[in-house]
């Protein structure tokens, strides 16, 4: 008999919260489970971002093999971008595999699963769903049943706002909605594996991290905001304790995240820097623009441009390569040399006070066994992710104390969590070292097929 496994996905949960107790007293039941679990430090992928990380976990394929390097991608020769959705995930997921083995799978909120695909079980899609009016479940009639039983589905909140009280209210409202739905599905439907991702954890971290993490460079004790993250943890903890007691006793519980989280030190204007270094020639004065202006195709003097970049939790840099780009200026014979020089220059970027940064610039083929889809020329992390690359223009300094896209206190970190609680005791307990996120899929298969 295969093992029944429930996977509680806590997006962006770092080990120091779940394993080391930095939870403000929020996790009590989960702590007791984790203490009895086999605990791995989960090494996230390149890039350590929700998309592609959860799909790397559930397919066992690296981002290069999946051809997914983030939410957005650019076809060669185009300036604009497209967004990946479930149709771009061509590798077999854990739930496809389960179906092939005659097992039933429940999938809730795993990004990106919209549009929903057929599954031997049921599926509710994730926060990349365009809206609750769309067909977001499999089977399609599950949507109506779920809404009648638990109310309309809430996919996400807008957290980049200065109205933090409103953000907190929305956050708990969404979490409770997800909890009602998951409890309904987990207790009334048939399943052998249940994969659930709770995105509100990541949203809470981004919106309230500086009120929670005492080591944050802008830490602020606040009578209301400082309690949001611990209260959110508490809500998950109490809800899960109640749910766990309703599941068959021999269910294996996995608690996992896709990446960690840490304080954001600031944002660095990567395109303004490229312009200053002569890689990017603009037809406009970047500092004369309104702060936060997006880089547009018509702002660029393409004949004199070598490279441009995208911001986000990491930066993707594109070479204006002749033969590939519409107005390519870099001759293919100079491509390697140009990349080498640019990489050296990026690695030399220092902090606002001249301090050394740990910058990393990779070519996709250095990171993955296969490079499919539409990869960038360089994947760049500034100061080991501590500084967020900002792609926008209009800034007086290249160093911004805040995110260029609105208030945000946190950036992603490389290490997440993966803890396996086996009530039957056949899976060993204690610290088990580090596991690469693309190895998790194989481990999950082993657990599911292991004997009690």
């Amino acid at each position: 008999m295969p093992r029944r496994v429930f996977i509680l996905g806590l997006d962006s949960m770092p080990p120091r919260v779940l394993y080391e107790g930095m939870d403000g007293g929020g996790f009590q039941y989960l702590r007791s489970l984790v203490d009895e679990s086999r605990r791995y430090l989960l090494r996230s992928c390149h890039p350590p971002i929700t998309v592609p990380a959860w799909m790397v976990m559930y397919t066992g394929k690296t981002p290069g093999e999946l051809g997914i390097y983030g939410f957005r991608h650019r076809r060669p020769g185009e300036f604009g971008y497209y967004i990946v959705n479930s149709r771009y995930v061509r590798a077999e997921t854990l739930w496809d595999w389960a179906g092939r083995h005659g097992l039933r799978a429940g999938v809730y909120g795993v990004p990106p699963t919209y549009p929903p695909k057929p599954v031997h079980g049921f599926m509710v899609t994730d926060f990349t769903t365009p809206g609750p009016d769309k067909p977001y479940t499999f089977p399609p009639w599950l949507r109506r049943e779920l809404e009648q039983a638990t109310g309309p589905t809430i996919f996400d909140i807008v957290y980049r706002s200065h109205d933090k009280s409103r953000v907190a209210r929305d956050l708990f409202h969404m979490l409770e909605n997800h909890q009602r739905q998951v409890e309904y599905l987990a207790t009334r439907k048939q399943w052998d594996i249940f994969a659930y991702v709770e995105i509100s954890v990541d949203r809470a971290h981004h919106a309230f991290w500086k009120y929670f993490d005492k080591t944050h460079p802008r830490y602020e004790e606040h009578p209301e905001y400082s309690s949001v993250i611990p209260r959110l943890y508490r809500s998950i903890d109490q809800w899960f304790e109640k749910l766990h007691k309703q599941l068959p006793r021999d269910t294996v519980i996995v608690i996992a995240s896709d990446h960690g989280i840490k304080a954001m030190k600031g944002a660095f204007t990567i395109n303004q820097w490229l312009a200053e270094q002569g890689y990017l020639r603009l037809r406009v004065d970047p500092r004369g623009l309104k702060p936060g202006t997006d880089l547009r195709e018509d702002m660029i003097d393409w004949q004199h441009t070598t490279a441009w970049a995208w911001g986000g939790y990491y930066s993707r840099v594109f070479i204006n390569l002749r033969g590939r780009e519409k107005h390519g200026a870099v001759e293919p014979k100079y491509y390697e040399e140009t990349l080498k020089q640019l990489r050296r220059d990026i690695e030399r970027i220092r902090g606002p006070d001249g301090e050394q940064w740990k910058n990393m610039a990779y070519r996709p083929e250095e990171l993955y066994p296969e490079v499919n889809g539409d990869p960038p020329d360089l994947m760049v992390y500034l100061d080991d992710l501590n500084w967020r690359p900002a792609g926008t223009l209009g800034w007086q300094s290249n160093y911004l104390p805040e995110n260029d896209r609105g208030p945000d206190d946190a950036v992603h970190d490389w290490i997440g969590v993966f803890a396996v609680y086996d009530p039957e005791g056949t899976i060993g307990r204690g610290d088990a070292g580090t596991i690469d996120i693309h190895r998790v899929r194989g481990l999950l298969e082993e657990i599911i097929l292991s004997k009690k």
Partner: protein, 70 residues
């Protein structure tokens, strides 16, 4: 009219479906119910084709921008 293929289903499920139709009506046979449910289950899959409409993609882009992912 399209040709027909034979599919086997569990006997208890067949009996359950037969009782359902006898008690609730709506379908002439288990075969009709099964065909209807299959069509319904696969219709969203066909409609979504390669993913999202342009309009939906724009909605998602806007949300991802607001979330700071892009």
């Amino acid at each position: 009219m399209a040709g027909k293929k034979c599919v086997e289903i569990r006997e208890d499920l067949y009996e359950k479906a037969k009782r359902f139709i006898e008690e609730q009506g709506g379908f002439q046979s288990v075969e009709e119910l099964v065909e209807f449910l299959l069509e319904e289950a696969l219709s969203a899959e066909e409609a979504s084709g390669q993913g999202m409409s342009k309009e939906d993609e724009e909605k998602v882009k806007e949300r991802l921008r607001a979330l700071g992912y892009i």
